[in-house]
């Protein structure tokens, strides 16, 4: 039976007769109707309930009683709850036992104040980055004097993850990148009848920049995000606190091996990527552009020199450090919650890639000045 309420007047009292099954999902009477009935009558002193026809109840009834309480609170009417089911009375007592916590409302900040706050926070985050960089540098200092604190097995495992496990994806990306460069170049070069120079273009581009850039971006997505998630979860599990209280520096134990792994594997991956990029370019040139393998190979050997390759490998190493740094920093600074860890992984990839591209731009200028 649908919940209903009958309002009865007896001299200075009003009686609410609750009828039917008061359960969530059933439309219950609106308390405002009662306000209409009693709110205007100054002679009313008491409000009582009659539950003889109440067949069932749950939170729905409690919400209704709350509404009635709210209405009577503004009047001098005394509410008599004694005839309500004992369970209802106890729940009402529980709900009002602890006064609601006053939530202090922060004044709404103006646009200018918010801008200032954002700028201040940005400034602080730079300081935090530098502090973390300092801690990592110190940790490497300790590593160099033989006071490293990480487990060798961890380093081996991390190196395998950052090296051998990444070969598949790096192969695919590098091969396709070489192929794409060859196609893009051939469109232009064909106009001058200089299709063979595709080999120069692919070789030099891969060796100098593209191999390092693409490999680092792949690693930012693979390892950078993984580091941030691993360290973030360790932090929220208090595993990092456990290390600290055991006298193990988390930076030495967790960050250093990750940085070492990425910085040592990226040069190798970059070399591998240069090679596969050239193979990709050769594949495109020989199948579509009527260039033979030997011609392509001879042309490439003439165009690519060692200093270009070492430059690329050097850049790759720096990118590796940036990716590992971004991943570890975000992980160590993650908030202790599932969203915090997610945000850390995202930030690790984003800041990692931005740092790689920024560094790449810087290297162009620097290498130009140095004539490398």
């Amino acid at each position: 039976m649908r919940p209903d309420v009958e309002i009865r007047r007896l001299d200075d009292a009003v009686q609410l007769r609750l009828i039917g099954a008061w359960q969530l999902g059933e439309v219950r009477p609106v308390a405002a109707d009662i306000a209409h009935e009693i709110g205007t009558d100054p002679a009313l002193r008491r409000l009582a309930y009659d539950v003889s026809d109440l067949t069932a109840w749950d939170s729905s009834l409690l919400l209704f009683l709350q509404d009635v309480d709210r209405i009577t609170a503004q009047t001098s009417i005394v509410v008599d709850r004694s005839s309500l089911p004992p369970g209802v009375q106890r729940l009402e007592a529980l709900a009002t036992a602890v006064p609601p916590k006053e939530v202090e409302q922060a004044p709404r900040a103006t646009a200018l104040a918010r801008l200032g706050e954002a700028a201040r926070r940005f400034w602080e985050s730079i300081g935090d980055y530098i502090e973390f960089l300092g801690e990592v540098t110190q940790a490497f200092g300790r590593l160099l004097v033989g006071k490293g604190q990480f487990r060798r097995a961890d380093l081996v495992e991390l190196t395998r993850q950052a090296g051998a496990d990444a070969l598949g994806i790096v192969s695919l990306v590098s091969f396709l990148l070489g192929l794409i460069l060859a196609f893009v170049g051939s469109q232009q070069l064909r106009q001058f009848g200089a299709t063979i120079y595709v080999a120069d273009l692919v070789g030099v581009a891969m060796a100098r920049d593209m191999a390092a850039l693409m490999t680092a971006i792949v690693m930012a997505g693979r390892s950078g995000a993984a580091y941030a998630a691993q360290l973030g979860i360790m932090k929220s599990n208090q595993e990092i606190d456990a290390l600290t209280t055991m006298g193990i520096r988390p930076i030495d134990y967790l960050v250093v091996p990750r940085m070492v792994a990425l910085c040592s594997m990226l040069p190798l991956l970059v070399l591998y990527s240069i090679f596969l990029g050239i193979v990709g370019g050769a594949f495109a040139a020989t199948t579509v552009m009527d260039v033979s393998w030997t011609e392509y190979w001879r042309q490439t050997a003439g165009a690519v020199n060692l200093s270009q390759v070492t430059g690329g490998v050097f850049k790759g190493t720096v990118y590796g450090a940036l990716v590992a740094f971004a991943g570890c920093y975000q992980g160590m600074r993650a908030e202790r919650s599932s969203t915090g860890v997610g945000a850390a992984a995202t930030s690790a990839v984003v800041t990692g890639i931005v740092a790689i591209i920024a560094a790449c731009g810087l290297f162009q200028v620097l290498f130009d000045v140095l004539g490398w």
């Binding site: 969530l24 999902g25 069932a56 109840w57 749950d58 939170s59 409690l62 919400l63 709350q66 004992p86 369970g87 209802v88 106890r90 729940l91 529980l94 709900a95 009002t96 036992a97 602890v98 006064p99 609601p100 916590k101 006053e102 939530v103 908030e335 202790r336 919650s337 599932s338 969203t339 915090g340």
Partner: protein, 255 residues
């Protein structure tokens, strides 16, 4: 909402064998949880208390035997459990609140999932449940911003969101000081009494067990089966199994 105090099985466990792969954890478990009981699953560490709970919740399939709640078979298939899911609430060991949601949103989730109520009503119910556990005014707080004890209470509020007939509680006292723990016990009893629910608790806290327990089953890791079932105070004083009496007297009982 009425609670019968007579013997009226609410959960029936019949000939249950719990196993991980070929490793048998417990076998030959047969007992009833009666309507209105505060039922404890007790046993030493590693005896399979929490696994027992996972079986009752349909999170793990029985190797043999069956569990029925209100004559509905408990299975691990979510579609077939949907009816049952609305009838029970679970308070997990650490609260298991969703950290990305505020307390109010946490409690709103089951209501949005299982009822057709409009959003304003759902939020009011969520506030009411928070008030019931003494957290009025904490609606917009995130789980990370409140203490462990408060997280447990908020978890209890979420477990009660749908006015469940059965409340499952995993280690209510884990991580709480004795005072908070006993307050949580009182709260559970109070809610059981006023809502007329059945409560199933996994615990090895003796003060809790003797304080609020009305019925229990004792799981023994050594013999891989249940040794006893019944009123915990009765078992402490009269059980024929020395293991049970030793456990319930913290080893002070000797044959």
């Amino acid at each position: 909402m009425a609670s019968g105090n007579g013997v009226d099985p609410h959960i029936e466990v019949r000939d249950l064998t719990m196993a991980y792969g070929s490793f048998v954890l417990m076998r030959d478990l047969t007992f009833d949880v009666n309507r209105g009981d505060i039922f404890f699953i007790i046993g030493g560490s590693g005896s399979g208390k929490s696994t027992m709970l996972r079986h009752m919740l349909g999170l793990k399939a029985a190797a043999k035997g069956e569990i029925r709640i209100d004559d509905h078979l408990v299975t691990t298939e979510p579609e077939r459990m949907r009816d049952l899911l609305q009838r029970y609430g679970v308070l997990y060991q650490s609260g298991a609140l969703w950290s990305a949601l505020t307390l109010q949103e946490n409690i709103a989730v089951p209501l949005q999932e299982f009822t057709e109520l409009d959003q304003a009503e759902i939020l009011r119910i969520a506030s009411l449940k928070l008030a019931l556990v003494g957290l009025a005014g904490f609606e917009d707080y995130y789980p990370a911003e409140i203490s462990g004890g408060m997280q447990k209470r908020a978890g209890l509020a979420r477990a009660m969101a749908l006015d469940p007939e059965i409340l499952f509680v995993d280690e209510p006292s884990a991580g709480l000081d004795p005072l908070s723990s006993s307050r949580l016990d009182d709260l559970i009893v109070e809610l059981r009494d006023s809502l007329g629910a059945t409560v199933v608790i996994v615990s090895h806290e003796l003060p809790s067990i003797f304080g609020i327990g009305t019925n229990c089953v004792f799981l023994d890791a050594e013999t891989k089966t249940m040794l006893a079932a019944g009123d915990p105070r009765d078992l402490r004083d009269h059980s024929e199994h020395p293991t049970v009496r030793r456990f319930l007297t913290r080893g002070e009982f000797d044959e």
